[in-house]
């Protein structure tokens, strides 16, 4: 295979600085939001004692899940030896790191006591999945860092397969950990399922690749790099398979619940009666995040359709996590089965929640942080190949 030539992006144009400026503004707004939430207390948000994890967590979990998924392209190249993906591996690793950084920033800044982050780094309860995740996340940075080093440094290239395998396994464990944050919650019927771990893994494949595709198309488009059909076709098919897999897991999850009598109320809530949650499920998650992308990916071969599909996957993913995280809390806990329950503490009723400006600003700030880090990194180090035209990429497996 011909050697791939990488090159930093120019990064001197007005457009580049306009992009960085816009992202910086969003990051600043996110910081202001975080400061407000920390200073005033969380009552300024839409969150309450019943919905303790809100919009920031939707964004944070989305970014963290997408981060591990963004690494897939690199894994396919290094571990599974697909030459076609090799030129994309560096960008894949970069996005994995920046998306995780954005997600963690949101998660940390939403804490009730973000000033005590050091406590989280010095006191551990090893039975807590959160505690494992602290190690999984920081370890992920380290592993992907080393992995990227083996990709960049020619003398270390031969190690990239081994390190890439470690990175792949690490990211699978990481997403299992993220899914298990919810999957191990015995107290809440909407979670409490081992299925959430593999579901989160396939979600990560799908969301991560969608973001990767959009960033790749934007970066190539804006820097005048050729991006050939061979690469796009492969990414298109891959994304289609991932989207379909997510739909499959979601279907299995719901079908299981539909079969079990004690989960019928739950399914009625999420599929039909739960107001905004069924609407987001059917229109956001299933239609926009699932069926429409499948149509766009397999129905046409246009670049615009691919970009639109990737955007739909992202929107659908956010809807899915909104339903899962917020809907899962809004659905009343079943403390007394067979009883109608009422109290002054919102027992037995669907908890009200509406996203507030600070929460959305914080979440969007995290996305902006991830993108800004990516944009800066592309300028500083040669992450992108000079060309991804059909003749320049490893055609042997195309």
């Amino acid at each position: 295979m011909a050697r791939v030539h990488y090159r930093e992006i120019e990064g001197g144009s007005g457009g580049y600085y306009a992009l960085l400026g816009a992202l910086a503004a969003l990051i600043f707004a996110g910081l202001v939001a975080a400061w407000t939430m920390e200073h005033e207390g969380h009552y300024v948000t839409g969150m309450s004692n019943r919905i303790v994890w809100g919009t920031p967590h939707v964004f944070a979990v989305f970014l963290i899940v997408a981060a591990s998924g963004a690494l897939n392209v690199a894994s396919i190249a290094s571990v599974f030896g697909r030459d076609l993906y090799k030129p994309l591996a560096r960008l894949s690793g970069l996005l994995a790191v920046t998306l995780l950084a954005g997600g963690l920033a949101v998660l940390v800044l939403d804490l009730g006591r973000p000033d005590r982050l050091i406590v989280a780094m010095t006191h551990y309860n090893f039975k807590s999945i959160f505690a494992w995740n602290i190690f999984l996340y920081t370890g992920f940075f380290a592993v992907v860092g080393v992995y990227m080093w083996t990709l960049f440094e020619r003398r270390l290239n031969l190690y990239s397969k081994g390190v890439g395998l470690v990175a792949l396994l690490w990211r699978l464990v990481l997403t299992t950990g993220t899914g298990s944050i919810f999957g191990f919650l015995v107290a809440r019927e909407p979670y409490d399922s081992a299925l959430l771990a593999p579901l989160f893994i396939v979600m990560s494949f799908s969301f991560g690749l969608a973001i990767f595709v959009l960033v790749l198309m934007a970066a190539c488009g804006w820097t005048g790099r050729a991006l050939g059909e061979v690469v796009l076709k492969r990414l298109r098919e891959l994304l289609g398979v991932f989207v379909a897999t997510v739909l499959y897991f979601v279907a299995v999850h719901h079908l299981t619940n539909l079969y079990i009598a004690r989960q019928h109320d739950l399914e009625r809530f999420f599929l039909w009666e739960g107001g905004v949650y069924p609407a987001l499920f059917w229109f956001g998650q299933v239609l926009i995040g699932g069926l429409l992308p499948l149509l766009l990916l397999f129905g046409t071969a246009s670049r615009r359709a691919l970009a639109a599909a990737a955007l739909c996957v992202i929107l659908g993913g956010l809807a899915q996590l909104y339903v899962l995280i917020i809907g899962g809390q809004a659905y009343p806990q079943r403390i007394f089965p067979d009883k109608e329950v009422s109290s002054s503490f919102f027992d037995g009723v669907v908890a009200a929640y509406a996203p507030s400006l600070p929460e959305v600003a914080l979440g969007a700030g995290g996305v902006a942080l991830a993108l800004a880090l990516t944009a800066v990194a592309l300028k500083v180090l040669p992450f992108l190949p000079r060309s991804l035209a059909d003749g320049d990429v490893g055609g042997s497996t195309a």
């Binding site: 969380h42 009552y43 973000p114 309860n125 919650l185 015995v186 403390i335």
Partner: protein, 240 residues
């Protein structure tokens, strides 16, 4: 303290209680631990709540929030509640009941399992607490609690009670009035219920054969909320 002495003191206290006024239990505990004595695994503090005696009143709630300085800001969605009255209605028969619900002080508390820093912990004598010094406010414990017993302090607090620290950004819940228990008193809710309410609540050491709560649990039917989760709660109910 040796068990024999405990028992004697227990009987003495019971006799004193009976002498003071029937039904009015001023002294529930055998004796306060000395300040130099750590909470012991030999004890397991708990509550027994007979909801057939629980009336529509909420003196337990008022007393708890007064004792612990839990005051709201007129925002029900974000104001903390350490204990609440829950009304139940059977879906088929319409049979109505009411009961106080608070932290159930599980032996295997899910909130303790999930806490990343170990701030949520179970003291040796079975009281589940939040160490607010190490709570980072992640709220994972609120997600994990099967009883919806925990609150997040959503805004700055002032005017805290001396033995009961509370602060913005951390999670809190019923402490079983640990500051009172360590002084040898009963929790505020129990005291109020037996003074002004339906006399439905009893407090004591589940492990102490001499304790009323132990004897009643041994000889009368009782149940745990969400017993299916096998958490072995320290708070037990009768008539549920």
């Amino acid at each position: 303290m040796n068990p024999h002495r405990r028992q004697l003191l227990g009987w003495g206290a019971a006799a004193a209680g009976a002498a003071l006024a029937p039904g009015l239990r001023l002294i529930e505990l055998a004796q306060a631990r000395s300040p130099q004595e750590a909470a012991s695994k030999l004890q397991r503090w708990g509550l027994l709540i007979d909801i057939t005696k629980c009336t529509d009143c909420d003196v337990c709630v008022t007393a708890c929030h007064e004792e612990n300085g839990v005051s709201g800001h007129g925002r029900p969605a974000t104001d903390a509640q350490w204990i609440r009255k829950v009304s139940l209605r059977d879906k088929r028969t319409g049979y109505a009941q009411t009961l106080p619900l608070m932290c159930q002080h599980c032996e295997d508390p899910p909130c303790v399992d999930v806490c990343p820093t170990g701030a949520s912990f179970r003291r040796d004598d079975g009281i589940v607490l939040v160490d607010k010094h190490t709570c980072i406010g992640c709220r994972y414990c609120v997600m994990a609690c099967p009883y919806g017993a925990r609150s997040v302090v959503h805004e700055a607090v002032s005017g805290q009670k001396a033995g009961v620290p509370r602060g913005k950004g951390t999670v809190e819940s019923c402490t079983l009035c640990v500051h009172r228990v360590d002084r040898g008193q009963t929790p505020a809710c129990v005291e109020a219920c037996n003074r002004d309410g339906g006399k439905a609540m009893a407090f004591g050491d589940l492990n102490d054969p001499a304790a009323e709560i132990h004897r009643r649990l041994k000889s009368e039917p009782s149940s745990q909320v969400r017993a299916d989760l096998a958490l072995n709660t320290g708070v037990r109910y009768q008539g549920l």
